[in-house]
Symmetry: C3
Subunit: 656 residues, 3 copies
């Protein structure tokens, strides 16, 4: 199913009906509205104006569209800020107030804002909670975007002190947990606790981790309360939230998603590619600058499916160039269709485009829409129409399950660990995780992202690229599983308080594999060294950035070695420990070995082709400028496309 984001308040009312008609013609079923409209809904304290929104909803409904309503809390109006200046957050890097004039200018620790946000949410939920045209709700908008999970305000400090009291009980326990005896950082009371910001030099990692946990909890608490407010008045409508990339929320995304019916994701492959890969050499960057990396969108899709309680939506899909990355290329012709199908291939229930028409004013005027600001149709229009028509060819799409045999274990907490404890400036947990994911996808393996609390029984191969903090219950479930387990460097090295485990890394994982990390070094990325894989003795790979020295037990054998012949990857029974970061080809070859061992079918396609299955549907995507041939699986019929795939085109087959 398809949808679109629409802002009736941005356009003359005279355009609304024709817009709605054309949306339906384009095959769009859902319209998301209202997420930034507070100043139009309440022009002064208690002075409400809902008539225009009523009319807008009616117009959309009459055309046959279903409306997703939003709480407008991402943009408190100026009069509210003037009433309660403590709503504004404080920059943790500078200590200055982050002012009014853009969006997300609120502090999750402002009690005034919490109350006001719930008040307006309730007003809106009451009004539309049973409206027949409204199918569901989006809370707020891209929560925690623009680094707003963290604030350095006085409110945040007091709330953090309370959180610490709640979490640790006594100040002695906190001092003990954080190791405050080091550098005389001991507190005598919770009221003395500072935020771990703006100190002379780095603050305690445990202190920082507690602050991140607190900040995440503040976001989740705020969001949970809003979900409750909506559900109280909209019992039969779904509630979702449009997530930004998991790594940017600084929030426990599993927790944030818990109360939702499903997770939505805002998919901007080109903008995100620029921010994520923008420092790559030309040769690597240029070939994907107008498509995004072949694994980048699916990475987000698989993560979104992972944190969701069921399926997921793409709530915002880039339909053309955006405005907010360092450089903003135009998608290659065909990519809007391709990304849409890729979302469906990885389990999306709906794809909504952002936005219907390019807005001529304000911050996002250079952000493309499906229609241009002169109301002509942008390139995406025809591509979406094609998706509309093609969707009709696969009536049972929604019933096809995604069934991955490979899982990546992820936690936001372990991302925090790596951000707090740099050790090597070039270590980037996001890139490490993406690297492992991409290696698996280059083999055509479907991948689930799971939390450590997730049921592991569906999986034959479970990998944890970066998991310093490991719980005993996770280890127990690993033991109970029959999967192959692969752990990346740093795994198990830390307690839950970001201190060293007493038995050396990989800590509790030593129950799974007889290995000890004797020392850890970090290396400038361009000073990489040779890495050898035992099964591919002729191949030379690279060890890079992070490198651990291992001591192996008798039963543990060496899978790969460093330039100095010492072990780099070790295996004990079902468990592998990878003690270093490496080049992409090493991971691909390592995972291929494991997949072969497990008899998981792998498919080594051209580097710019990707395939994935959803139920009995088999998808192939061509990210390159070349025409490519694919060998169809046996007993399969082409539903879309054929064995010759044009540039930026795709094929869908049904397995018989």
């Amino acid at each position: 199913m398809l949808g679109v984001c629409y802002y009736p308040e941005h356009w003359p009312e005279s355009l609304w009906a024709e817009d709605a008609r054309e949306m339906v013609e384009l095959g769009l079923r859902y319209v998301r509205i209202g997420e930034f409209a507070w100043s139009r809904l309440e022009s002064a304290p208690g002075v409400f104006h809902f008539e225009w929104l009523d009319r807008a909803i009616d117009t959309l409904a009459q055309a046959g569209l279903s409306v997703i309503m939003c709480t407008p809390t991402a943009t408190p109006p100026k009069w509210l800020i003037d009433l309660y200046p403590d709503i504004l957050p404080v920059d943790i890097k500078t200590g200055t107030v982050r002012g009014f004039g853009s969006r997300r200018h609120y502090d999750f620790s402002s009690e005034n804002y919490r109350r006001e946000a719930m008040r307006i949410s309730q007003v809106v939920a009451k009004r539309y909670g049973t409206h027949p045209a409204i199918c569901g709700w989006q809370t707020d908008n891209e929560i925690a975007c623009h680094d707003t999970a963290h604030s350095g305000s006085q409110n945040a400090k007091i709330a953090f002190q309370r959180w610490c009291k709640q979490f640790y009980g006594t100040i002695d326990k906190l001092n003990q947990a954080w190791g405050n005896v080091f550098w005389s950082m001991e507190y005598q009371s919770f009221e003395q606790i500072e935020l771990p910001i703006l100190a002379v030099t780095e603050t305690s990692p445990s202190h920082q981790l507690a602050y991140r946990r607190f900040s995440s909890d503040q976001v989740v608490k705020f969001h949970d309360e809003m979900v409750d407010v909506i559900r109280a008045h909209a019992p039969n409508q779904f509630v979702t939230h449009n997530f930004i990339p998991m790594h940017d929320t600084q929030t426990d995304n599993f927790a944030l998603a818990k109360k939702l019916d499903f997770v939505s994701y805002d998919n901007y492959p080109l903008g995100r590619t620029d921010l994520f890969f923008g420092d790559a050499p030309v040769a690597q960057f240029k070939k994907y600058m107008r498509t995004g990396h072949p694994d980048f969108s699916s990475y987000a899709f698989d993560q979104s499916r992972g944190i969701s309680n069921s399926s997921f939506w793409v709530m915002e899909q880039q339909p053309g160039p955006v405005n907010w990355a360092r450089h903003n290329p135009r998608p290659e012709k065909g990519m809007v269709r391709l990304w849409s199908w890729q979302a469906f291939a990885h389990g999306a229930e709906a794809v909504c485009y952002f936005r219907w028409r390019q807005v001529p004013f304000a911050q996002e005027q250079m952000h493309a829409g499906i229609k241009r600001n002169d109301n002509s149709r942008a390139a995406a229009y025809a591509e979406i129409a094609q998706v509309r028509d093609e969707l009709k060819l696969i009536a049972d799409l929604a019933e096809q399950p995604v069934q991955a045999k490979v899982a990546i274990v992820m936690t936001t907490e372990n991302q925090w660990v790596t951000e707090i404890e740099r050790q090597g400036d070039s270590f980037n947990q996001h890139k490490v995780e993406f690297g492992w994911y991409s290696a698996l996808r280059q083999l055509g393996l479907a991948v689930d992202f799971v939390s450590p609390e997730h049921d592991l029984s569906p999986y034959q191969l479970i990998v944890a690229p970066c998991m310093p903090i490991v719980s005993q219950s996770f280890v127990d479930r690993c033991k109970a599983s029959s999967a192959l387990l692969v752990f990346g460097p740093r795994s198990g090295a830390k307690t839950s308080e970001l201190t060293l485990v007493p038995n050396l890394g990989p800590g509790l994982l030593q129950q799974l594999i007889g290995v000890k990390v004797l020392s850890t070094e970090t290396i400038r990325p361009d000073c990489y060294e040779e890495l050898k894989l035992a099964t591919k003795s002729g191949n030379s790979y690279q060890s890079t950035q992070w490198r651990e020295e291992l001591e192996l037990s008798a039963n543990t054998r060496v899978i790969a070695s460093y330039h100095d012949k010492t072990p780099a990857v070790a295996r004990d029974g079902r468990t592998l420990y990878v003690a270093t970061l490496s080049c992409n080809s090493f991971l691909v070859d390592l995972f291929a070995d494991l997949a072969n061992e497990l008899q998981l079918p792998i498919l080594r396609l051209d580097e710019s082709l990707r395939s994935v299955q959803r139920g009995n549907l088999h998808f192939v995507f061509n990210y390159s400028a070349k025409v490519q041939q694919v060998v169809a699986p046996q007993h399969a019929d082409f539903l879309i496309g054929g064995s010759t795939i044009q540039p930026y085109d795709l094929a869908v087959l049904r397995l018989r």
Copy 2:
């Protein structure tokens, strides 16, 4: 005519007379004094000390020098700051007060400072307004330098609110104009308006543009009042101001120049080259590191002439290494003479050197003078003496007019647009404009810089490298002109409020050329792509950074194409639209085609030779380390030099 900047207050009085005598011997006629002397003129509120300055002026006058007197307002003394701390400006990037201890420590929105600045200006103007030795005045010094046009103070905020009220009339019109409905940024009253700084994420482009207009107006208002104060007491003396490079003022330079008799410019080719080109690769940078780029000084000269109401002066000419760039090379031997002649060739009336003698103390002690601090003569001395002698060979220099057939349209407003709306981080309006200018100059074409309000009738070729905001009156005058018109990317794409034009780019320019911009993309600079010029089908050029997709009307033809064969440059009648940025050679070849069509004589010299005409004088400058041969125009006689030009040397011919 030649002159010099002198600071009698820096030297023992015993040196003054000999200094004056030597200045006259060197052929200097003008001496600029007093622009930083406030603390010596007024040591406490109302306690004046003019005797020393009287004596200094008398000494200079007795030697035969004419004095340019300055208002000392660029450096308010400490006692004044202590009296009115609100004089200090606030940094818009950090919100911190910019303190005392250097210069330009004043806020254009401080009413206290405005009053005090006019008071001291009046005191000085009264005293010297009819002094026979004083020929003219310089207002303040390098106004708006060090990013001081902008302040984030409370004073600035209140003044901005008033400016908004004045400009928009009602708050509804402002909300409408800025598109404040987007992200609920609507204001209910002018008193709610914030400065567009220190927000959570980017503020509205319209809001930012209004703030830049306001800031520019504040500078102009302050400056205009000062001009009025001077004129009231010095009715027969000229008033000028020494401008920094146009792009650095953040002020509408045409407006700033309006009340002046003429514009002066402070010419530092090496320091500016370092700041402007300092990131260029060695091969590009090194060859010009001791000369400046061959077009860099003339670019500033032609701009200065453009904003001036008549001719222009060089008020400060670098005579040796300076102290303020990242690296500060010594000019090649001959360059001080060459730059001086280049100024005259491009229309300068006078060239003054900064400074007479290197000062041994304070911030600029590493800045060279004509004389060293031990009173010996620096290398520049002999070069200036040569200019003195050579000037005598061309008695009618001042009568020779600069007559350009090519104009570049420029506005500060459009610079602001590109700074506010990055879209591609590498887009640099200054470099774009300079690139177009340099391409024209590499063909030996004389160039005027004009405002859109300028009379266009003198020109056969009018180019606008970067002009997002275009007025109907400009379009009308383009229509009335018979010139070829060339517009760069982004032209006409924005309304005067920095919103999208309703009919797509190039907006109003569609009256001149049947072309529509369907989409815009920005590309990482090192990911350039092929560009083809129809008339030079064998040549391969580069499209880079900014790239627009064009739809052409029936009458519009393709002049150049992108790598994917779509149009990159289009032409309809007299008007060309260039939809992308490109390499230098593309622009040179494109402009050569147009000049040939117009039968404008072009001269393709070596890349380091430049020629220009002023009236019947023909100048050739050799920026290279090579001896070069020039073919003299027919019917021309050498006044200076000959057809063999030594490194860093020049030739002047008179056309018969």
Copy 3:
């Protein structure tokens, strides 16, 4: 002698006795304790807890260890900060308070802190000043680390005003000295003086230099008072301080060392290599990333010996990877031993390792210890045991004097000059000085670092790589010396107030060499140019970054020339003036010429071998991965190793 840093407060008391026993077994004699233990010693104002420390000292003493006690002033506890918030320093770059939560969070200008720091020092000194187990004291810890010598607080401002009054006497003298007439910066009273921070643009160099002198004086005054407090109660125990690298203290290290019995140094070759050389190309960086540059440790050792009143200690020696550089490699196997021996070779009396056991919590949990946090022995353990055994082979080590014939003149003041007056952004006094040192060491020459006040008579070759400020008394002592003198660029160019010398550079040094600096230019480092050495006319070297134009007197001859044939190095009698920076090979060849002239024996070994003599001991160190052969000096016997030196190994010979 060997020692270790230990934190009994970090470990269960049950471990102490076994730790002490194992330390003794490892040959450690000294244990440093207590430098961060304030919160454990005084839990609230006046509430002391010394029992645990008493027991810890007793435990160590009973095992046979000598204790070095510290004042705990580097980490004031939270209750003290809450009592006196003005203890916290203010960041001079941002104006924000630098908060509690790490270490060194105190302002040297806080009178409250000075009093409290002396109070706790007295309490500790009284308690342990005559304790038999305590051999000596360390003041505070790594004073001025983390840029804490400078503060922008109100306290600092007032103290600076007082300091100025003390230093200059009258405000007129200050205005005169600083050249405040420039830019009207004149003050009318000392109370008007601002700190030279956060101004609109750069502040006066003289003002900045005064502020650095003041800040240094504040550190020294604070530290001297603490030494006095300790000595008053511990008359028979030594007092030392553990210095960070000289260039990082922003303090006059000679002054800081004056009251100490000897200087200690904290030696982290890998961490410092990363910070110092971390931007070098891979080819240069990679070969030394696990060893440090061969001259880097000895550079610090020779400097420490230079500022010390007698010998020096290494108080903290890196035993494995650290946690605080950008990347933190593991030392190559053997390097902990090699660094230890290198310290002894360069005159160290003792080497103490930091730390005994890796601490599992807080900021330094990734910093290696001799033992791992699981109490197993890290790689360094065996290397230290080897040093223990080898030391026994050279019983008279302590009696062997370091006798250098070459001296490098250094002053912190001249470092400040270069930091204040950039002129060329790439000029780095630290790298210049290190470059000259390394060139001398590549010839096997022993080097002393001396202050300009030092006795020059022991030396045959005296070099001053960067000495803008020169005193007449130094010139007089140069005249009295019979050594060859080599001065680098900028030498003698400045008065003691950082203004230009009246007779051009090298100012007072013109008494030694007939040369004048006519102009100075700085050049982008990658735009280097050819340099020719007269004695090596076939070789081509590079002139880079800083380049002075020289005028030579009749008696002065040219030693080296620029690409344009003008003089780059000049010599007059015993004095050479080097007017430019250069490549390493130029300096090596220049110094080789001079050493040959002086008949100083030089030894041109492989680039990764280093040799040095201490008394009759001759040391050779192999910093490379290659097995290397050394030709033993005649009449010498191997005490350790032999003529074949393994990678990262060493040899010690005794000259007969």
